[in-house]
């Protein structure tokens, strides 16, 4: 695969992951378990949309066809989105939301740590900035998993359930295909296999503090990177894209 083609796809993948998760968190506005936590979750959403915008802009620049961040966000359909299935999962209860966040943030923390030394300046700068944000997201979600796990009996089984459900979705983050192999070979992105054990160690530390003994392994999600999503995508995009789609002649 040609390097630029791989780069565009890679940037879109990062952008899509951030966008769909940002969307899920934005659904929670005014629905938090208490007001202070409402602000925390919308803050994470804001950070993620910032990352989305950076990656879409970069993809558009490399592509050189004049596509803008909004073209990528509002004018592509489900099969063109390359986000992992993890981020499409619904918010559920607060335990579900934090479990999803923990898996996402711990992965991206480790990824950004490596990616910030990419020889591609744009990727390196993006990773350095996003690392700061993701470090905070990781801290926030992990601290909540600990408190829910080692809180009350009710919170313990609720977060256990949440982890059991989300566990299926973490392997997909480490999938590699031609896009990744091309960029790894060119030294532009890290091989995710190199930090898989670090990821697992980080997660295990949280589970230990949360007094979670074991999480069920189930099906391993896959397909997001080639546009095969969960059924949720079909309900996310129509809402997200509704206004420009309804009024295509208008400028937004």
């Amino acid at each position: 695969m040609e390097i630029n083609e791989a780069l565009i796809k890679y940037c879109l993948r990062l952008g899509d992951d951030a966008m769909i998760l940002g969307h899920r968190l934005s659904e929670l506005c005014s629905k938090g378990p208490y007001l202070e936590e409402d602000i925390a979750m919308t803050n994470i959403s804001l950070d993620l949309f910032g990352q989305t915008r950076m990656m879409y802009t970069t993809a558009g620049e490399i592509e050189g066809k004049g596509r803008t961040e909004d073209d990528f966000a509002y004018k592509r359909l489900e099969p063109e989105f390359q986000n992992v299935l993890l981020v499409e999962q619904p918010n559920g209860n607060f335990g579900n939301t934090m479990a999803r966040q923990m898996v996402f943030s711990v992965f991206y923390y480790h990824l950004f740590k490596e990616l910030q030394s990419s020889s591609n300046e744009k990727l390196a700068a993006f990773a350095a900035k996003s690392l700061k944000e993701t470090t905070y997201h990781m801290r926030h979600s992990c601290e909540w998993i600990v408190r829910l796990g080692d809180g009350t009996e009710e919170s313990h089984w609720k977060v256990q359930d949440a982890l059991n459900e989300i566990w299926s979705y973490r392997h997909e983050l480490f999938e590699k295909d031609e896009v990744d192999e091309t960029l790894i070979a060119a030294g532009l992105i890290p091989d995710t296999a190199t930090f898989k054990s670090a990821f697992e160690a980080s997660v295990q530390e949280v589970l230990d503090r949360a007094t979670i003994e074991e999480v069920e392994e189930g099906w391993k999600s896959t397909g997001g990177r080639i546009g095969h999503h969960s059924e949720y995508m079909g309900h996310i995009l129509p809402i997200f894209q509704s206004i420009p789609r309804t009024y295509p002649e208008s400028k937004w």
């Binding site: 208490y34 202070e36 936590e37 602000i39 925390a40 803050n43 905070y136 801290r139 926030h140 601290e143 408190r147």
Partner: protein
């Protein structure tokens, strides 16, 4: 509605730049110090207002009583000799 689980209150102090004093900016409710710190960061530093945060349980604050202000603070009023401007020195003397 049952009497709910009230989180303790924390007072928040922000240092806007290293070297400057911490300023009281308000308070919030949180179950423990870690969450209080994170909530304070989200609530009070969104516009780059700070580089460092202290959170202190409101119950730990010992405050002077407004009824005592006369006794506490007025006696300082007539001790103007604590100010540099009180002293008359020869104009010619430098660095003093």
């Amino acid at each position: 509605m049952s009497a709910d689980n009230q989180f303790p209150q924390w007072e928040v102090f922000i240092q806007s730049k290293t070297g400057l004093p911490f300023k009281h900016v308000g308070n919030l409710h949180a179950a423990d110090g870690e969450l209080a710190l994170q909530n304070a960061r989200d609530l009070y530093t969104r516009r780059q207002e700070g580089t460092s945060i202290w959170v202190v349980p409101t119950d730990e604050i010992v405050a002077s009583n407004p009824d005592d202000s006369d006794a506490f603070f007025d006696p300082a009023e007539d001790k103007i000799y604590r100010a540099a401007t009180y002293y008359n020195l020869p104009k010619e003397a430098k660095h003093i």
